[in-house]
Amino acid sequence: MQPLSRTKRISMLVVLVTLFLIGAPGLVLYSTGYRFGDAFSLVKTGGIFIHSSLSGTEVFIDDEFIENNGVILRNTLIQDLKPNIVHKVFVAKKGYHTWVKELFVFPNLVTEASILMLPTEIETRKINPSLGTIASSISTTTANASILENPEYKIVEEEFASTVQQFEIELSTTTLNAKYDVDDLPGRFISATTSSLVRPKEITIKYATTTFPEFILDLETEVGDITEKIELKEKQKMLTWLEGGDVHVRWAGEEETIPFIFCVDECVSEIVVSLDTNIEKYDFLPGRNDVLIVQTLNDIFAIEIDNRSEPNIQPIFQGNDLDFKVLNNNDIFVKEGDVFYEILL
């Protein structure tokens, strides 16, 4: 049997080189977002990437079904979208609120969004003050019983009674740890440079340099009367505070890593989360730094920090005389009057 002939080898090589010469530019153009338009013209397209932690959802864009996401691959990349227009995305799953977003798509770029889909029926668990009664002694004439206290109730009750707020901001060169008492220090919660405003007893600040981001130092100047500005919180470099019934959000990380929710065409420095009624209290939804739990007079909601289109708002709890706490960065507890509930999301 003769070795592979030169003709066959050269033919094979020619075919493969041709494939490469055609395929490589084609693949580069395709991967950049170029597609064939009318009359074989090349047109730019864009895309949308949907981050999701929920499996089994149905994804639609402009009322067209795109895909069911799976258990492992939960995120969705939608390509070939006409650029320079707004596309309406919605993600649905039975038993969950539908997430709807209108997103502007730019040529050759991908617009990102993260879904917020809470169950339509949220389970709650009431926390009883006692675990029942037990017989403490037995006599021939009377039987004494004592109440067995629920230690969980005690802990939750204490947490709700506490007015201490604390937060930590970690930056590349600076660590700011602050603890303050809302009652003792209404509004005058922080200043890294103005020591007269700081009560060392309540506030501990440790830092390598005094080079805090300008906006933290300027907060007081910028906002003016900061008596109203309370509940400063930070989660994964997302810095938030309550001001005039709205929640203000700024990015405390490097400019390079600013989250997509701040950026449409240009990135903005601040997002204001507001409702028709005043927000009385807020915290971050466990596991997310882009979703807030907000409390109004009679409602507790989850709301996106995303003003690129109408933010998705989904109810968590309704009632009177409400208060809530996120404990251990993970568990949501609601107080209605004197009754405590754990929210089971």
Binding site: P3, A24, V28, G47, L109, V110, F260
Partner: protein, 527 residues
């Protein structure tokens, strides 16, 4: 150098820059730096581009992914053809093929160099020679080439083996290569060169055997000759256009102990076999490797194998190529010889040995400065030939050391280093998808590899036949390829090139030969 015989020039047996002086030394040193610089330059350029020009890096990676896929298809095409040819040649009756040829005058000299390998390894090889279908009693000279530095035991093994098989061959010669001869490096090259010269003095000349009638097979000591190997070799030698300007290359199949070796060692071994099979269909890219054959006359003219460097097996081709002014070639005979896969007492030791063996093979990059320098000095070789051979060799070593790293490790780098502006682009989302899809397509070639490998391994030893999962693992093991080509291909390749770049020249490392006591005959059969 215009009219001078290049083999007589002071450059002919140069091993490294340190062997030269002045301007020649400077040029040779630059040529030693060149392969490593090219490989590291490629890797660093991708890292740099990923950080500062991520879009360019992504374009390059996508084009490279496609190049890799098409290259895989190209190699598979050659591989599949050679597999057919190999099976055809194994099935062929070479006795019948050589019937019309006159070859009674032709002697086969088989050199088996060894250091501290055990008697069983040496004996198996000699036994396989005695069982080949050739008139070994009349026309085969076996040389057991031992090393003085290995001590008396090595010589004793040779004596015992000689005693047992002395009647099976025309001659069994035992040679003892003295230690620390000036200008030599301890290793296979200096040993077989010594053995060849001793055989000339002690066997060929006393028996008035014409050097032109002796075909020398320089085997590794674990080489098992297949039954009709010498008939096949004889046929190729006698029908070659220019037999004295040709070397003859069989396909080394590392299968003697394949059932005992761990899966990564099997994959690494088979990958080496596959590479040789592919090269058999691309003779212009083929150089001699491991066990090979060449006429004694050609060897004698150039002073045998080079004694002062590691890669004597491939260097002998380049020595002959330069000595014959570009008129020497390798004839692929597409017939197998079996050798050992790496195996040691523990998995770790085996992995270490595989790495070291591959590093030694990749040290073949030391031929690049030799070739390029030789091309500068030898004006009798055509420029076209010089350019073609240079590019083939440079591309070969560059791709072995860099391509697996570029494909499997650096392909994702723009996403990591490219910054947020890049990460917002459609390109950044498509880069991993396109890389993954093209690589998946390329990996489809592994199915062919698994089938070919399964057809080349010897039958499962009796004591393993109850372990049916062995066959399953024999197929499944191919998923290790992405790891083995990086760990046992690219990394030792890069290490070898880096050593050469910094002038940290390697010495010869003897691959330990270890076989499980399976009691099975090591002779292999094609399935």
């Amino acid at each position: 150098m215009e009219n001078e015989d290049y083999s007589k020039s002071p450059y002919f047996h140069v091993a490294h820059a340190r062997d030269l002086k002045g301007k020649d030394k400077f040029i040779f040193r630059l040529l030693e730096i060149f392969p490593g610089l090219l490989s590291w330059g490629t890797i660093l350029a991708i890292i740099f581009l990923s950080a500062y020009k991520p879009i360019w890096a992504a374009y390059f990676i996508i084009a490279f992914d496609l190049y890799w896929l098409l290259k895989t298809a190209h190699l598979s095409f050659h591989h599949r053809y050679n597999w057919k040819r190999l099976k055809h040649n194994i099935a062929l009756d070479w006795k019948d093929m050589t019937k019309a040829l006159k070859y009674e005058h032709l002697y086969h000299m088989v050199i088996l160099p060894y250091y501290d390998e055990g008697q069983s390894v040496v004996e198996e090889s000699v036994k396989s020679l005695s069982q080949t279908q050739y008139d070994t009693k009349k026309n085969m000279i076996v040389i057991l080439a031992t090393e003085a530095r290995a001590g008396k035991e090595a010589e004793e093994i040779a004596k015992r083996v000689k005693e047992k098989y002395k009647n099976s061959f025309k001659e069994i010669l035992i040679t003892v290569h003295p230690a620390d001869l000036p200008g030599e490096m301890a290793g296979k090259g200096s040993n077989i060169a010594w053995a060849a010269e001793r055989s000339r003095v002690e066997v060929l000349d006393p028996n008035n055997i014409d050097y032109k009638n002796v075909l020398v097979s320089a085997f590794d000591v674990d080489t098992i000759a297949w039954p009709q190997y010498f008939l096949c070799l004889t046929w190729h030698f006698l029908t070659a256009e220019d037999p004295y300007n040709s070397s003859f290359q069989p396909v080394p199949i590392y299968s003697n102990n394949i059932w005992d070796a761990p899966s990564f060692s099997r994959v690494a071994a088979m990958t080496s076999t596959f590479w040789q099979m592919i090269q058999q269909e691309r003779p212009e890219k083929l150089t001699t490797f491991s066990s090979h054959a060449v006429s004694f006359q050609a060897l004698y003219e150039i002073g045998y194998w080079q004694k002062n460097m590691v890669s004597e097996d491939s260097r002998i081709f380049w020595n002959l190529f330069l000595a014959k002014n570009g008129n020497h070639k390798v004839i692929p005979i597409s017939y197998p010889v079996s050798m050992d896969a790496n195996l040691d007492t523990t998995t770790f030791k085996t992995a270490r040995n595989v790495y070291k063996q591959h590093r030694r093979w990749m040290w073949g990059v030391e031929n690049i400065p030799y070739i390029l320098f030789g091309f500068i000095k030898n004006k009798k070789i055509s420029l076209v030939k010089k350019i073609r051979y240079s590019l083939v060799q440079i591309e070969g070593f560059w791709s072995l050391a860099t391509n697996p790293i570029v494909i499997l490790l650096l392909g994702w780098l723009p996403l990591v280093l490219g910054g947020s502006a890049f990460r917002e682009t459609v390109l950044s989302y498509n880069l991993p998808l396109i890389t993954r899809n093209l690589m998946t397509l390329a990996m489809a070639g592994l199915i062919l590899s698994a089938i070919i490998a399964a057809s080349l391994v010897p039958p499962m030893p009796e004591n393993m036949k109850k372990r049916k999962r062995k066959w399953f693992i024999m197929f499944l093991q191919w998923i290790l390829v992405p790891f083995t080509i990086v760990i046992f291909g690219a990394i030792p390749g890069l290490e070898a090139q880096t050593r050469l770049m910094f002038g940290k020249y390697m010495g010869f490392w003897v691959t330990p030969k270890h076989r499980e006591e399976s009691g099975e005959d090591l002779k292999t059969e094609i399935q």
